[in-house]
């Protein structure tokens, strides 16, 4: 009951935030919510399935670049939908190609994909359009962006929760613990893997599309491998096999980075690095491990398949 009340209050606070907060804190909330959406959608595929994807930057970048291309010609939520479709479609293609890859092979393949996309785009823009980089001259209102991202983050969390309770969620966890056994149990592993991968990529594409107006200027460097790394760090730091883990990881890392940047101009990376090392050594099951100890709930416990496996 108390948890439900707290949740309701949190949602209300998030919805009311743009009215209460100054533009800076609204932007900070926006950035953290975007990271929450990325980390949660990364984790609902990579967490249970144990396929470490480094393609986040590619899907995010594709969505962002799409917004930059269509710019003001298309009314607002459409670029975001387009970004989702684009991310999903790319993931279907990658998924189909990378089907047989496991572990680090999958990770490096997905990373390579992001780089391939970036360099092909640069090559295309240089050779064909003759310009690289686009301006977004008429961005949506800040509150529009905030609510778009809030919706995406909320949807990602709901999707993650729904997945865990569904047959697909069990199947994914089964794939994560022993893919061959899952197959012999009659699970269509291909469909489950590619389907969830595409769903997660759709969120990443949408987040990229929704965040693009914040840059004003976009070029193919938006296919940034650091987005992929940061997403992995957030999710793993919090605990990738839970729903709360990536949320906690994203909020923690977002706030920690902001404080370090503002207070220690020349020691930001040092502080960030030491924070990671200390958390890893002190909390073997991630930040969400702290939550689990205090209150067991569907948000913070690993899926059933995991406990069994």
């Amino acid at each position: 009951m108390a948890a439900k009340l707290a949740l309701a209050l949190l949602v209300m606070a998030l919805v009311a935030a743009p009215e209460i907060l100054s533009p800076y804190y609204r932007s900070l909330a926006l950035a953290i919510l975007a990271d929450v959406a990325l980390a949660v959608s990364w984790a609902f595929f990579s967490g249970p399935s144990r396929y470490l994807s480094l393609a986040t930057g590619a899907f995010f970048g594709a969505g962002a670049y799409l917004t930059a291309i269509v710019e003001a010609r298309v009314p607002w939520p459409l670029p975001v939908l387009g970004g989702a479709l684009m991310g999903g479609a790319m993931a279907l293609l990658v998924g189909a190609l990378a089907l047989r890859l496991r572990g680090p092979y999958f990770a490096v393949f997905t990373f390579g994909l992001a780089e391939l996309a970036k360099h092909s785009l640069i090559w295309y823009e240089t050779g064909v359009t003759g310009t690289v980089g686009r301006l977004i001259l008429a961005p949506p209102e800040p509150w529009t962006l905030y609510y778009t991202i809030l919706c995406l983050a909320g949807l990602a969390v709901l999707t993650a929760l729904a997945l865990r309770r569904s047959r697909w969620g069990y199947a994914l966890a089964g794939i994560g613990s022993d893919e061959e056994r899952a197959e012999t149990l009659g699970i269509d592993t291909t469909r489950v893997k590619i389907g969830t991968f595409a769903l997660s990529a759709a969120f990443m594409g949408a987040v990229g599309a929704a965040m693009a107006p914040r840059w004003t200027y976009l070029d193919p460097q938006v296919f940034n491998p650091f987005v992929s790394f940061q997403t992995v760090i957030m999710a793993l730091l919090g605990g990738a096999t839970t729903v709360a883990g990536p949320i906690v990881g994203a909020v923690f890392l977002g706030l920690a980075s902001e404080i370090l940047l503002l207070k220690f101009r020349y020691l930001y990376l040092l502080g960030l690095g030491l924070t990671l090392i200390v958390v890893v050594l002190a909390l073997p099951s991630g930040l969400a491990g702290l939550l689990r100890r205090s209150s067991p709930s569907p948000l913070s416990s690993p899926p059933a398949g995991e406990r069994a496996g």
């Binding site: 100054s22 533009p23 800076y24 804190y25 932007s27 900070l28 950035a31 360099h119 640069i122 090559w123 240089t126 003759g130 310009t131 690289v132 980089g133 301006l135 001259l137 961005p139 965040m211 914040r214 840059w215 004003t216 200027y217 070029d219 460097q221 940047l261 503002l262 207070k263 101009r265 020349y266 930001y268 990376l269």
Partner: protein, 402 residues
């Protein structure tokens, strides 16, 4: 230190009045003028930020505070307090921090971050909250597309830069010193725009370009490109580069035994580091904007003060413009105070005399500084084009690599 004190005061002092009194006491004088900016201290942009902008910001602050502070019209001198934040070379972070500077810190003035893309990202924020932003490291034809009245670009833009390149190459061709030009450009916005401007400018000047090659950011080997140019008998190399690829190309030219009579490159050549790296870099040409021998008032004093404070020389292109942007702000504040629309009005309507020569803005672009070409000659980056501003005459063919 001042950061800590501010935090302390913020949390303890009850009201704005107490805040002001205490702050005044702490400084032993007037309330400081608070100026905010982000400069990349980490990530790829920190390289350029640390050469061209950071040292000039701190030099100017130190000089002003040594005089008792920034002269504010009607208020006397007030010390300058910087609120400087690392944007970790990330655009979204920079945008957020400029929002913070405008709405949370409510700074009196803002200075721009380093680099074209960063300036694009934060310019709309500065414009929205009415902060004049004078960018010394933004070079792009797209700046005018932004149509942001509060954004100003001090540096020469691609058409001006390439106009100067074409000017000197045309003359050298007329003198029979060169005949075949080849261009290598980095394939991001900067290189692509320069290359597009080059195509137009060189064509208008009646010059033949025998080969054009692009290469990616972070390139590790330019010897294939250079060998190709060498084989084609190119005698004027034009590199539309960033510093790392500029240095790579220069090293590799020597290593593949190629010494064309004209070696002309973009960003990086004007750095004293480049000169020292290549034992004087005698005869190498590049984009120029300034050197301590130019006639503008205070040029030599600025050079000496920079060396004294930072133990390194300012670069010979954008550094002086970074300092000039601060001189412009300083003069505006002295004449109209900290009322930002009035500052903007003055920036729009005044021709300023700076260490980098006269600067006047028309629709946000500096129209007083023409494109220039410089050449390292006996340790100084002499301006060799246009002739009206020249501090030396071009030496072609350049001597062998040292």
């Amino acid at each position: 230190m001042s950061m800590k004190r501010r935090e302390f005061l913020k949390t303890t002092a009850g009201g704005a009045a107490a805040f002001t009194v205490l702050r005044g006491k702490a400084w032993g004088q007037a309330k400081p003028v608070r100026i905010g900016y982000t400069l990349s201290a980490t990530g790829p942009y920190s390289v350029g930020a640390g050469i061209t902008q950071g040292p000039n910001y701190t030099l100017w602050q130190e000089q002003a505070n040594a005089k008792g502070g920034l002269l504010v019209k009607g208020e006397g001198r007030r010390p300058i307090e910087f609120i400087s934040i690392d944007d970790r070379s990330e655009h979204e972070t920079a945008v957020r921090f400029y929002e913070k500077l405008a709405t949370d810190d409510r700074v009196d003035l803002m200075l721009p971050p380093w680099g074209t893309a960063m300036n694009f990202a934060v310019a709309p924020i500065a414009n929205k909250y009415g902060y004049p932003l004078l960018g010394p490291t933004a070079v792009s034809n797209k700046i005018k597309d932004l149509q942001l009245p509060y954004f100003y670009a001090l540096l020469q833009q691609p058409d001006q830069i390439m106009g100067a390149f074409a000017g000197i190459l045309k003359e050298l061709k007329a003198q029979g010193k060169i005949s075949k030009i080849a261009i290598a450009y980095v394939n991001d916005l900067f290189g692509i725009e320069l290359n597009a401007s080059a195509a137009t400018a060189l064509k208008e000047a009646g010059l033949d370009v025998v080969d054009v090659k692009s290469y990616p950011l972070g390139v590790k080997d330019l010897s294939p490109v250079l060998k190709g140019f060498k084989a084609a008998g190119v005698d004027a190399f034009v590199g539309l580069t960033y510093p790392p690829d500029n240095i790579l190309a220069t090293s590799q030219a020597k290593e593949v035994d190629w010494n064309p009579p004209v070696w002309l490159a973009a960003v990086g050549t004007a750095f004293p580091f480049y000169r020292d790296r290549f034992k004087g870099a005698e005869g190498v040409m590049g984009i120029a904007g300034w050197n301590p021998k130019v006639k503008s008032a205070g040029a030599k004093e600025y050079f000496d003060a920079h060396v004294k404070k930072h133990q390194k020389e300012p670069d010979r292109w954008a550094s002086a413009f970074a300092y000039a942007s601060l001189q412009i702000l300083e003069r505006c504040v002295a004449e109209v105070g900290l009322d930002r629309p009035k500052i903007k009005g003055m920036v729009d309507s005044t021709e300023f005399q700076t260490v980098a020569g006269p600067i006047r803005f028309v629709k946000g672009s500096n129209v007083s500084t023409p494109g220039m070409v410089g050449q390292w000659q006996k340790g100084e980056f002499e301006i060799v084009w246009p002739k009206s501003l020249a501090t030396g005459t071009p030496v072609v063919p350049k001597p062998a690599w040292a």
